[in-house]
Amino acid sequence: MVVKRRIELGLLFSRTGSYSLISEACRSGVLGAIAMVNADPALDLSFVPVERDPGGNADAYGPLCEEILRDTSARHVVGCITSWSRKEVIPTVEKFGGTLWYAVPYEGFEASDHVVYTHACPNQHLLPLLDWVMPTHGRRAYLTGSNYIWGWEMNRLARERITAAGGEVLGDRYLPIGSREVGRMIEELRFARPDFILNSLIGPSSYEFMAAYRALGLEDAHFRPDRCPVLSCNLTECELPALGQAAEGLVAAGPYFRGVPGWPGAGNFGSSHEAAAFSAVMELARLLAGRAGAENWPLSQLLADRGGIVDPDTHHTVLPVIIARVEGGAFRPIKRWEAVPGDPYLTRSRQVQAPTLRVVS
């Protein structure tokens, strides 16, 4: 058996607050991978978790990440759920030459030298989902989102894609993170009668919206999921308990759904959040294995000559894309693409450009 060197690994997850269910899913993925690495007699390393809990407060992420990088030997941190918190942490990892492993779907348009993105970006979630829904259900959309970069950018991109396809956006409405005031959205939907709804709300806002939308569907058949489904790029199994019956008929895109074989290899995961966090830690272990001292290397050096799942240019990963519908409390896959490389700026995969409209005065 090889001698294991102990490597501290930062964990930065909010175990309370409005998105704690996602934090817990990612955290179990990380801890599962750590246990597997530590038990593997062939690997010359073991991970020692160093945890900090920002408690759902975006402003606590930067200082707590700094605490990990300054006060411990950890150079790699797995963590952050919202894009807001990720943007808060990037200056810190840059300052200390550390790396953030980010295991949550996000809105793209970023490729930090100090971040690895192991979950999906829009060409791996939103765009395939829209390409599926428009021929299937129609091209008239209603967009909702939480009031921060994720909701805004997802809806901007959705509008661009839908308009380019000749569709129409009937409305878009945002709620502050944590707000449950979904009444106005439901009233607008009643009149707009779209073909589908894109839900980029997070946490309690999303739970409340889904419950209210289910009630609307019981009242008016147009709003049943088979006629006018709700689409999501961030809801996974880890939030189904909070949604209950309201999740029935929800259509989501992600790299993994419970029980689907393939990615990320070994094991059965509760959700894609757990799977992406697991794969982040396993990939880090693979990059460090057999290279004493590599735990202190900058990310660019670590990625230079060992291949693997991380694109050295963009730091995004190749993932399957699965579209799945909730039926009987579980996601059932309805469409699947294998091995789609992350394309954060949509410069590598987007072939068809929206027509440039001339302004006629």
Binding site: I90, E94, F109, E110, A111, S112, D113, H114, E160, S300, D313, T314, H315, P344, Y345, L346, T347, R348, R350, Q353, T356, V359
Partner: protein, 200 residues
């Protein structure tokens, strides 16, 4: 006035040239641009004719001078982004005169290139659209005298000035040409148009 919509350029395989001596800033900027999807080349101390095939130029504002560009100073045919290290007023003034559409502060680190590309593209497009609009307005101003003469000619046949003006507008619409071009046609015909030509 309503701002025109921003056009998000397709940056896949776009060409960027970094006009800067070899330096970590060039490396950091190249990394960012490559991640975004652009093809990047570096040039120093001046831009060759290959710049005319590029889509964006990043140029060193600290050591720059007019002779480094293969075009008339201040009239770049593509969007330009200044790489500013020393924020001295003289250097900023020179960058603006060189035609900078956006700037990025040195040392360049982990981010900033994407917004600089979008802002430079938008400023470049806006400048081009405004120049075209100003040229058009200037031409129309120059033709004011022609309009006055055409209205006078039409009014000379017993119409009020307002009626003559309205008639000229109708003619322009019927002929599907600009107001000024219609006026020029009437003046050229001396004595006004043949009224019968408007029938049928």
């Amino acid at each position: 006035m309503k701002r025109r919509a921003i056009r998000i350029p397709n940056l896949g395989h776009a060409q960027a040239i970094i006009l800067h001596r070899p330096h970590p800033t060039v490396q950091a900027l190249t990394r960012q641009l490559t991640a975004i999807g652009l093809a990047v080349t570096q040039a120093w101390p001046e831009l060759g004719p290959e710049a005319l095939a590029a889509d964006y130029v990043f140029f060193d504002a600290d050591m720059g001078h007019d002779g480094m560009f293969p075009w008339e100073a201040g009239h770049p045919p593509i969007p330009m982004i200044a790489l500013i290290g020393s924020e001295a007023p003289g250097r900023i003034e020179w960058s603006l005169k060189a035609g900078a559409h956006a700037q990025l502060l040195k040392p360049v680190g982990d981010n900033g290139a994407y917004s600089a590309l979008l802002i430079a593209r938008d400023a470049f497009d806006a400048q081009k659209a405004l120049s075209a609009e100003i040229a058009d307005l200037r031409r129309r101003l120059d033709e004011r005298q022609t309009v006055v003469r055409a209205v006078t000619l039409l009014a000379a046949r017993g119409k009020s000035e307002a009626e003559a003006y309205a008639q000229l507008r109708q003619m322009a619409m019927a002929w599907r040409i600009s107001f000024e071009d219609a006026a020029a046609r009437i003046v050229a015909a001396q004595g006004g148009p043949d009224d019968r030509s408007q029938r049928g």
